[in-house]
Amino acid sequence: MTFEFDRRSFLKFALGGAAGTAASGVSLKGLSDLNAALANEQVRVPTGPESWATSVCTLCPGGCGLRVRLIGQRAVKIQGNPLHPVNRGGLCPKGVAGLQELYHPDRLHKPMRNAGSRDNPRWKEISWEEALGTITGRLRGLRDGGEARSLVVLDRPRSGLLPRLQRQFLAAYGSPNYLVMPTGMDAVQAALRFQQGITEPVAYDLANSRYVLSFGVNLLEGWGAPVAVMRAFARWRDVASGRRTKLVQVEPRFSITAARADEWVALRPGTDAALALGIAYALISEGLYDADFVREHTFGFEDWRDAEGEFHLGFKSLVNSEYRLNDVSAITGVPADTILRLAREAAQNRPAVALGDRQTSSLPGNPYAAMAVHSLNALLGSIDLPGGVLVQQALPGSNSDSERSPGSPPPALVLSAGELPQAILSRRPYGVQALLLNQADPVFSMVNGDEFRRALREVPFVVSLTAFLDDSSQLADLVLPTATALESWQDTGPPPAVANALLAISPPVVRARKDVRHPGDALLALARSLGDKVAAALPFANYEAYLRRQVDGVFAAQAGAVFGSNLEETWDRLMERSGWWAPSYSTSEQLWEQVKQQGGWWEPAYSYGEWARVFRTSSGRFEFYSQALAQAARQQARAAHTGGSAARIDDRACLPHQTVLPETSSNFPLLLLVVEQLPLSGGQGAHLPYLQQIAGEHLFASWDSWLEIHPETAHQFGIEDGAMVWVESRRGRVQARARIYEGARPGVVHLPLGYGRATGSPWACRGANPLQIVEQQSDPVTGMPLNSGTHVKVYRA
């Protein structure tokens, strides 16, 4: 058929088309109809009566108090609890975004059994009864076979009473193996152990410090109790207080903390110890250090002779001989006059406090650097006094007996979580038959995640308690969905770096949206069904009952106060100092009710200068020269020279010192330092869109890993802003988007932590996990872990 046109039919066609267009769109009525028909745009905003409830945030160890706005049964807004002493109404963005956690579409809603293999999991939903029944059966079997000790619990870092419950559970069951994911405070904690002889958490009275020297401690991006630190920062800059605390941020990268500090000292990565010792040198040589404190409360400052009359190097001689300003300047890249000035300023603006070494559990801090930094606190006399370094008060009523197994406990498998995979794989000192991951994801968040992956395959029975499927639970036999903060009873204790004893407890705010349970409830149910000693040790119907009982302990301590407004607390503190204790409650029941209502209880007063409590070294003093380290070294030496006489140990291994940095190789010319961003800190938060949107504010980056690189370095390697690049180390390579950042040190590149989950919410499975290419290094002399970074090369993808 030919297609014959004539003018008429053409016109008809054209006019018809035009008319059609007009009718459908160009006429306005038509347009709105079309618009409405094409796209339905109504978003229903549900309504209902309004109410408010108190809760706590568990998205990080900070444990801020929350006020939750409810409309009907729905939580619609999270605010800070103004009565909570940690946050006083403020919250970090993660806490505010917590609602997205509650209503997250990717949450697990039922227990699941792996019906496939470890390598190829197939998840089948089962009931809680079935799940708990399976676990009970397994644990009974182990216990009856005398292998109770081969049960390991790996917990995420958290404050509050749940760790206590887990220890009690394990003790009654017969296992010593309660492990916590490394928290990054480990380096400082090690310094405290070696120099002060204590294992209690370190704390700081930052709000009252006048000079803060932070060695890479990311104060404003998630360190410690984030909101408490931010409040302290605001205090430092409160004009009304009439003076300003100086914050000096020492780190190679221009982080947000560095940007907000009063001074940023850019040092060569991994040379913190040298810088700290350089400052120590200046303090000593100028006579600026607190001689009284050093004389009264320290050990190993001067050269000394031990009982056998052997000569030992003292801190002063070490510093004077090896850390003179010019030497330190050459090591660190910090000008000598800057070092001198920092020392003078710190000495003249007391209380001055030194924080560090930098911390990330993913890259263990360097204990010697931490010791060097902590030595500054001793020189400045900033230990256990207002504005200085404190030791966290224990929660009253902690009945440590019940957390210990009766009789002599079996030896613990390992000392820290990082060593777990080696122990599992080598079955030394004994094998692991069952592993309970309590909201911990070591495959994703440990540097040796690969090792963990292999190790988990070897463990016959793995249970993961988690709210979202994650990389580790992929290797589990059972996955138990946990409740989010607002859905269950919650409690938090004193958060990291906060000195005051504290217990916040809050009832569920909303009904659980899924078939989920609090880990405490799950554990107590297990205890019941295990029967016997375990049931006897934990005779609680549920976690609420457990919490209720712990409050009895707090009541019995006859101290502290229920959360109140600032004013009330100042009053309470005054009263308490003068020996009065005027509680608002007279029975434990009343205390319980008030805690639920106000959010918690705390001990507002800290007793300073209890030297016996804070110095539990063999000398009873602060030890520049760590005798604990000396003893350990001696033991090691003895083990090496089997049976031989006490081998001579290197004094330097017991004193803070700068460790040797690994050499750069021409194949891997750049140094990679991983960083945490507040929104994704602790590896958490990538599954919440609100946090993804703000993750890289300084570069307007969002939703994906970016590689910070200095413009010159980028130019040198032919990399443009926004280009996709490979970052390759000896261990492997990951992809990221290169972002030119003036704040990156030339020759150093940075990848943000928190990205690159392999399993879980699709929102979290974006970008790259830098830990996959980070190399674990250790000091060649001592075998101690280092955090000096990984050498990489970067090239276009």
């Binding site: 745009e41 978003v43 229903r44 905003v45 309504t47 209902g48 409309i71 619609v76 807004k77 605010q79 800070g80 109404g89 403020g90 919250l91 970090c92 963005p93 505010v96 975004a97 609602l99 997205q100 509650l102 209503y103 997250h104 579409p105 990717d106 006048r210 984030p226 931010m230 409040r231 605001a234 800059r237 004009v239 300003r244 605390t245 221009f254 947000i256 940007a259 907000r260 009063d262 850019a266 000035r341 020392a343 003078r344 300023e345 003249q348 603006n349 949206r513 507040l678 869109p689 609100y690 949107q693 703000i694 504010e697 300084h698 969002s702 939703w703 994906d704 003036e742 704040g743 990156a744």
Partner: protein, 238 residues
């Protein structure tokens, strides 16, 4: 009649962006999907601008939380062809979502880039709709939205004060961003009340406004960073 204004102390601000998320949850601001974010279409009524300057290692960054500054002389409202945006007697620059034709003239006229456009229909994946605040509407696609100074909170505060038979007092009406700020770096109140905190701070020596030279008369006032003035290591000063 009050003239609402905000003071942000840049010395105290930690650049944490809690204010950003607080505003988004309070005002039902949708999260755009990652591809959209990559195209620069994130909607946030308040953002923290980094303002980085200098070269390594002599760098400065002045992170600046920036909501709509509620100009007293707003360039944005004049240009709107349909009067979908205006300034109310209390100085709040508001937006009538139902009238806006989406021409985006106002977004271009605002020197602070503080107006946001709904490129798509807002999405609240999964059960995120459950968290929507019933006091605030969800904007349809194709219209411009912006910081309202949490105007719905003023209405509630007024109602409450009226129910208690009293005048609105300082602190009754606080926007979500100000309320959440962990550093207490934000202040809010009546700039025309000479005794209010904001008015006092706004008179101070550290106070300045952004792009003041344009004559927009912002009602968001910043307090400059200020510097440490302690011992400088050269010996004590008196």
């Amino acid at each position: 009649m009050p003239r609402w204004g905000m003071v942000i102390d840049l010395a105290k601000c930690t650049a944490c962006q809690a204010c950003v998320v607080a505003c988004q949850t309070e005002n039902n601001v949708p999260c755009v999907p990652p591809e959209q974010a990559a195209r620069g279409r994130i909607i946030s009524w308040i953002s923290v601008l980094p303002q980085l300057e200098g070269e390594y290692p002599r760098l400065t960054m002045r992170p600046t939380p920036l909501p709509c500054v509620h100009c007293d002389n707003p360039p944005c409202i004049r240009v709107c062809p349909v009067g979908a945006t205006g300034i109310n007697p209390e100085g709040v620059v508001r937006q009538i979502f139902a009238r806006c034709i989406g021409c985006r003239y106002c977004t271009n006229a605002c020197p602070y880039t503080r107006r946001m456009f709904n490129w798509y229909r807002p999405e609240f994946p999964g059960e995120f709709t459950e968290a929507l605040n019933p006091d605030v509407s969800v904007r349809p696609k194709g219209v411009v939205e912006k910081c309202t100074l949490c105007h719905h909170r003023l209405q509630k505060a007024r109602d409450q004060a009226r129910a208690q038979n009293r005048e609105l007092a300082e602190g009754d009406y606080i926007p979500a961003c100000v309320e959440i700020c962990p550093a207490g770096a934000m202040y809010f109140g009546d700039l025309d009340d000479p005794n209010s905190t904001v008015a006092t701070l706004a008179r101070g020596r550290r106070a300045f406004r952004l792009l003041e030279e344009l004559g927009t008369k912002p009602k968001v006032i910043y307090l400059a960073q200020g510097e440490w003035s302690g011992g400088d290591g050269q010996g004590a000063r008196t």
